[in-house]
Symmetry: C2
């Protein structure tokens, strides 16, 4: 052993933290891009957390009862990559660190869920991690109530930065966590007083401790470089009956020879000179990415210290009465017979289907699956009655027993959507929740992340058009169908009646890696699916609902409440001797996944094509071509009763007929 190695033979906690500092510095330097300041600043806190508190076993990143660590300040991704590497996660290799931010590497600029094991959620857009964590912590409490603390008893630890706390979504998250008394949630705030533009005080002077306290948190401030204080604070956190905030006063870029404390360490490589000087100051004489043996061993030991607990847990699981159900739920598989009632209802409906608002149809779909799929957790952003998200007799999910299955999210669309992501990522639950469709704009950043991560959450978006009526243009989505359809890997459903609503719900729940938006009407609409197709037609995204009498001259496309208008228009055209098909399009995204031959057959090129949807045209050219007709909107709505709006904006069967005739 060389002298250099000997100095690390039995590394101090400070030296173990320095390993993170050096790796972070090296990774960013090699990539010539990244954020070294935060990993260096929070290395001490992370070291104490991982070595003394975090329940995990690096060899089993999928251990269901592990503690969850969430790096809300995702730009500090080298912190988590370093930790996963040091503790021995299999795919956190040295090569991955060396390829930080490069094509094909698992070490993306911000931590990406699904790229490297040990990354619990994708973070980077500020505030999302802290809001996710509420979902993680809530899922834990619920599953503990369902399966017992023998199987479920873990904590959620979050590192958040000033940016996370400035984002509005953090307020929604902390208010929720406080209200729900999520005492196993601990946020370690990297209180370094620095943001990109300079000092935090340039734009903020909030007393964060007071703010969290006002929302029902237990709070504490410490020196984030003093390992004893950190240890004491984390121990304190585990004993509170409320969620905990620990303000960790740190220096950004801690350890950097001359740049420590400067916002210049935030978002750029330190440069060769500074790195050399820093190595010297840390007595770290090893090449980039090289680690002294003593450090390697000490950290590897940390990675293994949870093995015993994990094995004990596995033994408990093996003999647990609910073992199979727990394993199935955590795997995200649906119970056998999940759709028995739904299928029965479908059969029943095609013989007699009443006119309902599609939000009611969605409510009926939920009635058929809610008891059959105990993982379903409902909720609404304070619009329960309007969203039809509440299945009767459901217990509210709330402290102290957490066994309930319906969350009162409050007027917090963004926090709700972000927490839903956390719930789905935790596993064992399938969250769905409602708001008005227009407010999908509020939750959009979290919906995007659901799509990027590929998690199963269902957004129930009611009042899906000018059919909302009197509440007026602020509440009427007109561009939201297009805007949601624009998000890759998001299934945007707009069912036309109860049969389609049931089908769409089935598809949504069957897709384990795809979030859905269920777009639903406020107003009643007649049933359009009156015969038994023997299969789930909505699964194809679009299908011929009504064939033409004879060789089709016209194809009419519609979604949701406008399918009925298309059918009525087809009736008129047929009566005038124009053979007309009607295609219902419940989901653009799924249609794109069909074989080309099917797509061509459904689209019916060569026929006159007209689409009707109470929204803007964008995206419909895919179906109607450049010359097709479109009956919809070109601007915002207005305040008036729904039927008046449809008439005044010219979204009528007559207009559809006219658009077709003009092209015949």
């Amino acid at each position: 052993m060389t002298d250099a190695q000997a100095a690390f033979a039995k590394p101090s906690p400070k030296q173990m933290a320095d390993a993170i500092r050096v790796l972070a510095m090296d990774g960013v330097e090699k990539a010539k891009s990244g954020h070294p300041g935060m990993p260096m600043g929070m290395a001490d806190v992370a070291t104490v957390l991982y070595s003394k508190f975090l329940k995990f076993d690096a060899s089993r990143p999928d251990w269901a009862d592990r503690d969850r660590f969430i790096l809300s300040a995702g730009h500090g991704s080298m912190l988590i990559y370093s930790l996963l590497h040091l503790t021995g996660y299999k795919d956190a290799t040295r090569e991955q660190l060396e390829n930080f931010r490069q094509w094909g590497a698992k070490t993306a600029g911000h931590p990406e869920y699904g790229h490297m094991t040990g990354i619990e959620t994708t973070t980077g857009p500020l505030g999302q991690g802290i809001a996710n964590s509420v979902g993680f912590a809530l899922a834990e409490r619920h599953l503990a109530a369902r399966f017992g603390s023998d199987l479920v008893d873990h904590r959620t630890w979050v590192i958040a930065g000033d940016g996370c706390l400035m984002e509005g979504v953090s307020q929604e998250a902390i208010a929720l966590a406080g209200r729900l008394k999520l005492n196993k949630l601990c946020v370690m705030w990297d209180d370094n007083e620095i943001t990109i533009d300079g000092k935090v005080s340039l734009s903020d002077n909030t007393d964060q401790l007071a703010r969290f306290k006002a929302s029902g948190w237990a709070v504490k401030a410490i020196d984030g470089h003093d390992h004893k204080q950190i240890q004491k604070a984390l121990a304190w956190a585990t004993k509170q009956s409320k969620p905990t905030l620990i303000a960790c006063k740190t220096k950004i870029g801690k350890g950097a020879a001359t740049m420590e404390g400067s916002h210049k360490t935030h978002g750029a490589a330190l440069g060769a000179t500074e790195i050399a000087a820093t190595r010297q100051a840390l007595h770290w004489s090893f090449d980039p990415f090289d680690l002294p043996e003593g450090i390697q061993k000490a950290w590897a030991k940390v990675g293994k210290q949870g093995a015993k607990a994990r094995k004990g847990w596995e033994a408990r699981l093996l003999n647990h009465a609910q073992r199979d159900d727990f394993t199935r739920a955590m795997a995200g598989d649906l119970p056998t017979g999940a759709f028995e009632a739904l299928d029965a209802k479908l059969k029943e409906l095609v013989s007699s289907q009443p006119a309902l608002a599609t939000r009611q149809s969605s409510g009926e779909a939920l009635e058929t699956v809610f008891n059959a799929i105990p993982e379903l957790i409902g909720g609404s952003a304070d619009l329960t009655g309007s969203n039809n998200t509440f299945v009767k007799n459901t217990q509210i999910l709330d402290a102290p027993d957490y066994a309930g299955r319906y969350v009162n999210w409050g007027v917090r669309e963004h926090g709700m959507a972000s927490a839903m992501n956390g719930m789905a990522l935790h596993g064992g639950v399938i969250p769905y929740a409602g708001t008005f469709m227009v407010f999908s704009d509020y939750s959009r950043p979290a919906i995007r992340l659901a799509a990027l991560m590929g998690v199963r959450v269902v957004h129930v978006l009611t009042h899906d058009s000018i059919g909302l009526g009197e509440d007026g243009p602020t509440h009427q989505p007109v561009e939201h169908l297009a805007a949601l359809r624009a998000i890759p890997n998001l299934m945007v459903f707009r069912p036309a009646d109860t049969v389609e609503a049931l089908e769409c719900w089935q598809v949504a729940l069957q897709h384990k890696k795809t979030p859905s938006g269920m777009c639903l009407s406020r107003q009643k609409t007649p049933a359009v699916r009156l015969t038994d197709a023997g299969e789930n037609l909505s699964r194809k995204g679009a299908y011929e609902l009504k064939a033409a009498n004879g060789e089709a001259k016209v194809t009419l496309f519609g979604t949701g409440t406008e399918v009925a208008l298309a059918l009525k228009a087809a009736e008129t055209l047929e009566a005038e001797g124009v053979p007309t098909r009607v295609v219902s399009v419940p989901c653009f995204e799924l249609f794109e996944q069909q074989p080309k031959a099917y797509q061509d057959a459904v689209i019916g090129r060569g026929t006159v094509r007209v689409a009707v949807e109470a929204a803007i045209k964008q995206g419909w050219e895919r179906f109607i071509g450049e010359d097709g007709g479109f009956v919809g909107l070109t601007g915002f709505g207005a305040s008036a009763p729904a039927e008046v709006l449809y008439r005044e904006f010219g979204i009528t069967a007559e207009a559809v007929v006219e658009a077709a005739k003009a092209r015949l």
Copy 2:
């Protein structure tokens, strides 16, 4: 005078408030839709505010130095309609109240800016009003610094509900207001403990007073039905050196005979029986919308009591040295010569234009106009250096003197965008501010309202594609161009080089009633406009940048950094003997407004059409038809250097050539 009339001959403040209650109840009843609970609950506070504190003159709703009243809880729109009617605003007629929520009426379900005078901003989406108000109050402070308190010295009063305070954007707003010491901002919180789903405590137990205090506000709690307490509290608010929160404990639906305090009064008509009983309880024996003379007179007097102050102000304006500048600025007109430097720069550029990132080009555009247009107020959500929004030597807009012209918004995209709306609505300033384009998702609800209201704000959205590089998919917009283009009345610009950037900025600033998004690259791009067109070509939305050599066989479309790729592809095609045009498309929205003949000429039907944009295809069919080629993305990006991403995702000149050839 009848006995019934006599009882109101000299109405008490309580009786004046009852007039609001009855009108709100009647308006909602007639519409059979609306929200009576909040207007009834806050009638007392509103009565004291309007009769004792609000500086206004109903006959001159455009008086520049009026106090601003913002109903953040916009669903209580009958409160403001009643107040405007009672105080004598010309267009707040009885007929308008009777046509509440009907087609063509100015009394929309939620207050709509531009429909009825006296409505300062569109509210309804919760949290927006309170965030707007920060912009109103900041604009006031700035203009007072610029023009003196002789001309600018007014307050911003806000009524906000529980929903507003639960929304995350409210936290961004209150933190900003506290930091900026906006002491002339007063929020009256309707603390009625009720939301739609029931008691506030179902989803929230935040100590709001402590929360506001933590962000630097002065706070006070009162009985919101006790006129003396209200008066004392509002007087107190006018004397603070911080923004003020007054928690007004109220009963929702106050005055309703049996439903007072129930969430059932929130969002539905009370019904004939309850209304009759309530009339009796209030000793109000008049027909719907009928008002006793005494009430009419007393309220009309309130509407006129600001006339003297207004006249005094007009006299001061008449003799003010800065009269013309003030009047011009408040009218939203640009100074003479606003674009002299910009025009000069344009001429200079076409002879020698360097390769720049378009965010740098945008920065150069700002350099040419910032000093020429003193109304411009810049800012960034903590990405100043990245957004190129800061013009050198600009003073920061901050307490205590507020004369600066650059706002450190902090990591608060949503609050920033909403406050910008408030600034623009206040008048006298033209706000622009930056963030990464992907975070337009965070500010989207406010951008939508800017478009709906028609206000001039410019969102500088940098890092507009995978060209952002290593930060990865969380930070790379791929669907955002489509999603922003979907918003009606929003100009989404994506300039290709410095010439286009200058042109787009000119167009954005010249549109008084249209918000803009300026989508700008992180990475450098070669100049494409190398000759002097003698006009602002970007104004047309799309134009032929390069003609074909001979009869065009191919048309290539591109935007932003991809225009250079289209040009390169055209070169290859031309070299191979394929006459190829290139069309630059800096703004879809403006192109749609051109004459059809121009549109047809630019689109070039009959040629093979291919578009290239580092984003999803949605919306491009408008240009390329059903069979056109599209070189872009179908999903999310990845983390790697920009040039690697362009290559790996196949967004190259070669791919464009190939797409064209495949169709020839």
